[in-house]
Assembly symmetry: C2
Amino acid sequence: MYAQTLANLIDELKKMPGIGPKSAQRLAFYILQSSNKEVEKLLVAITDAKGKLTYCSTCFNITDIDPCRICSNQSRDGQLLCVVAEPKDLMAIERSREFGGKYHVLGGMISPLDGLGPENLRVKELLNRFQKENFREIILALSPTTEGEATNIYLTKLIKPLGVKLTRVAYGLPIGADMDYADPATLSKAFEGRREI
Amino acid sequence: MYAQTLANLIDELKKMPGIGPKSAQRLAFYILQSSNKEVEKLLVAITDAKGKLTYCSTCFNITDIDPCRICSNQSRDGQLLCVVAEPKDLMAIERSREFGGKYHVLGGMISPLDGLGPENLRVKELLNRFQKENFREIILALSPTTEGEATNIYLTKLIKPLGVKLTRVAYGLPIGADMDYADPATLSKAFEGRREI
């Protein structure tokens, strides 16, 4: 009983991740009730993003210029390389302003259940960079999940023999967390990684 | 550190209801990773919906033809009118296939806190229909909230003197509900509206 055009719009919105039938309906009505100018801005933003954005040929971050702003930034430490799974992880790290080196985006993590092996990640491209660039330290910054751990192990086996310093980010209690709400796995990692004060 | 075009897209998506920064980022990456064909379909669906959809000049449902498919459907009971707040309420009722009459969409409910008074609703248009159409019964199908109740009271005062039969949908326990999880207000309505069996 929806008008066909409305049903179409809801169907298209429903394809997006995390958008169920109810959310899709709410978004569709929002779009219908927005001014033409507002909707035009949304359309232009989508078209622009699709048209202009690409992967950086060096680090595989999403970018509108190649090499990306981070790779071409001379004030960043080019000897320090942080390996992440996805562009969104890179962005989270950038927001923390904690890291001043360069990145390498794998494009995922090893996950046999999803049919993702090392050959689906940008591992070859990472090894290629070792020949061209001169790294002092490689930091693995992958999520502490089964997939992240599998990828850590795989990359360690691969990179360690090259003789470069290899580290991974610390796992432990997140800042602001309540000790008694921490899960056993996190507590175990927190004890394992304890430091002298 | 997002590329500007990506930041733009995320900003535009963030304006939508129920879409926070995290969801907007997820949707943006989904759009970037989708094929051009998929994104094209989304763009066309949005443009079509904005371009073709309008409000029915009789019942104010969202439609692509005027009068809408429900208003122009001769097999529906034109003497039975169901008053709803929003097009999405109409659609929920249509999905239940429980109602075979016509509709009137108010475009909201009375809500002083949101600055919505009767003058913002399509009440005048409702009264106009009384002169042109011949109604046997008016059913108020508004959400059982403070706003719905206020609108029920307002419409009752307005319609009752016209001598037409006026009803409202039943409030009570929703089907599938657990008695002991029902809130006091619902239980009170369920007792008040009890029927002999």
